[in-house]
């Protein structure tokens, strides 16, 4: 398997965030599926615009949460999503 590089995380082509109004939650929609997301994941994914690096995203969220160190949480979340194909590196 190719080693996973994840500097600038982004949703793959054909994947998108969606507000499920009936179930009152955010999901990632993709071919043949939907993945339910918690609020933390939504906040991270909303910043995955194909330009921000993981550092940028962690810095922004940290500022939002009074300077808490969220870098490892953000990185672990994005890597676990990348392992199941829900996130990829913008350069790949």
């Amino acid at each position: 398997m190719e080693s996973l590089r994840l500097d600038v995380p982004v949703l793959p082509n054909g994947f998108r965030l969606h507000w499920d109004k009936v179930r009152q939650r955010h999901v990632i929609l993709y071919p043949e599926g939907a993945l339910g997301l918690n609020e933390t994941a939504v906040q991270v994914l909303e910043l995955c615009d194909g330009k921000r690096t993981i550092e940028d995203i962690a810095d922004e969220l940290s500022a939002r949460f009074g300077g808490a160190d969220v870098h490892d949480d953000v990185e672990n979340l994005l890597i676990s999503l990348a392992n199941i194909g829900m996130v990829k590196d913008a350069g790949n």
């Binding site: 398997m1 998108r16 969606h18 499920d20 929609l29 043949e32």
Partner: protein
């Protein structure tokens, strides 16, 4: 206004559906002998297709009912000239739209219009990596146009799914099939073995692979997954005859998905019309929410368990719901029986015998194939 089941009488809450399978038309340029459409596609009622306005209203109602995924299928959906219009409505209401096409009518003009309308994903069926056998199984010359359509989909930036139904006559080329999907830059390849429903039921003997073919197939898939990683998702589905426990057909009767036929009949699964005495409501007469929550057909097998499932030694009922009602009917004569794929079914020998026959030494399996046609019902061969 989102529709939910307001039941407060303590009964099990009916889940909202996730998936609408919109069968826009039963016309199709292909004649695949494992088509999941009913054998009765030639009936006059199916030629009375829903209007554009009906389908657009259906998309809006589906979104309000909780549907997230829209499969635009058929037959061949692109025989309708209004798929672009429907897709635009699907986008407006947030449905994830997936066009499931034979590929041959996916021309540049239509592909560009569909892109413009907001289509999310393109799924193209290819019958084999071998052009001659692909055309033979499709019953028409189509392979090269399918490849062109797949390249066009990628050129326009669509994520691409390649779907190859597997069976005795193409399983041995599974490596080449995966390579073909990679070469076409597919995001997902579906390698589902034919299940013996619809047209595949009458072609079961010719289609059913050997155990050896399936073991080889599974090993190839596992190696490919390891090599390719998340870049291309590989779906692999065994024929359920080769499993000990049944599949949760459609995620359970009327729990997760529903089908709307070309004439507007709303049904819990593609094979449900085979069950005698089932009356289906039509979306021209009732709202999707009324049919989903309240119709007799959708409630028939909700909160239903076949007898043997009530004492399941594996406690699997919550996982498989006793399998497929339609397969139980087709093989045992009664839709209320447990799916005989289950090893605890009193009629499991029906399935075991069919598997044994497929693996009999010396059997070459090149029986004739009965092709899908719209020219009336083909008598079911014994």
């Amino acid at each position: 206004m989102p529709a939910t089941n307001g039941s407060t009488d303590g009964s099990t809450r009916i889940p909202n559906p996730m998936l609408l399978i919109a069968e826009l038309s039963y016309k199709c340029p292909l004649h695949c002998p494992y088509c999941s459409n009913p054998l009765t596609i030639g009936e006059a009622k199916y030629a009375d297709e829903l209007s554009t306005a009906d389908w657009c209203r259906v998309m809006r109602e589906a979104a309000d009912l909780g549907v997230l995924q829209l499969a635009l299928t058929g037959g061949e959906p692109l025989v309708r000239k209004d798929v672009e219009e429907m897709t635009a409505v699907a986008k407006e209401v947030g449905l994830y739209s997936n066009l499931i096409t034979a590929g041959t009518p996916f021309t540049r003009k239509r592909a560009e219009a569909l892109k413009e309308a907001g289509l999310d994903n393109v799924q193209i069926s290819i019958q084999d990596s071998d052009p001659v056998n692909s055309d033979r199984i499709a019953g028409t010359k189509s392979f090269s146009k399918k490849i062109e359509a797949a390249r066009l989909a990628r050129e326009l930036g669509f994520p691409l799914t390649i779907n190859v139904v597997l069976h005795r006559h193409n399983l041995d080329r599974i490596e080449e099939i995966i390579q073909m999907a990679e070469d076409l830059d597919a995001r997902r390849v579906e390698l589902a073995n034919s299940q013996y429903q619809g047209w595949a039921a009458i072609n079961r003997e010719s289609l059913m692979p050997t155990r050896e073919q399936l073991e080889h197939g599974e090993a190839v898939v596992n190696a490919a997954r390891e090599r390719i990683g998340p870049k291309m998702e590989i779906l692999w589905v065994l024929p359920d005859y080769y499993e000990d426990t049944p599949k949760p057909c459609m995620g359970g009767w009327a729990r997760d998905a529903f089908v709307i036929q070309p004439n507007g009949d709303m049904i819990p699964c593609q094979a449900a019309p085979s069950i005698p005495g089932m009356l289906f409501d039509n979306v021209r007469d009732k709202s999707l929410a009324e049919i989903w929550f309240d119709s007799e057909a959708f409630n028939r097998f909700r909160n239903f368990a076949p007898e043997v499932c009530k004492t399941c030694p594996l406690d699997r009922f919550h996982l498989d719901f006793g399998g497929c009602r339609c397969q139980a009917l087709a093989l045992t004569g009664d839709a209320r029986n447990v799916d005989p794929v289950c090893k605890f079914s009193p009629q499991h020998a029906i399935v075991a015998d069919a598997v044994a026959a497929a693996n009999r030494p010396g059997r070459n399996g090149d029986g004739a194939l009965i092709y899908r046609t719209e020219k009336g019902t083909v008598p079911v061969a014994g």
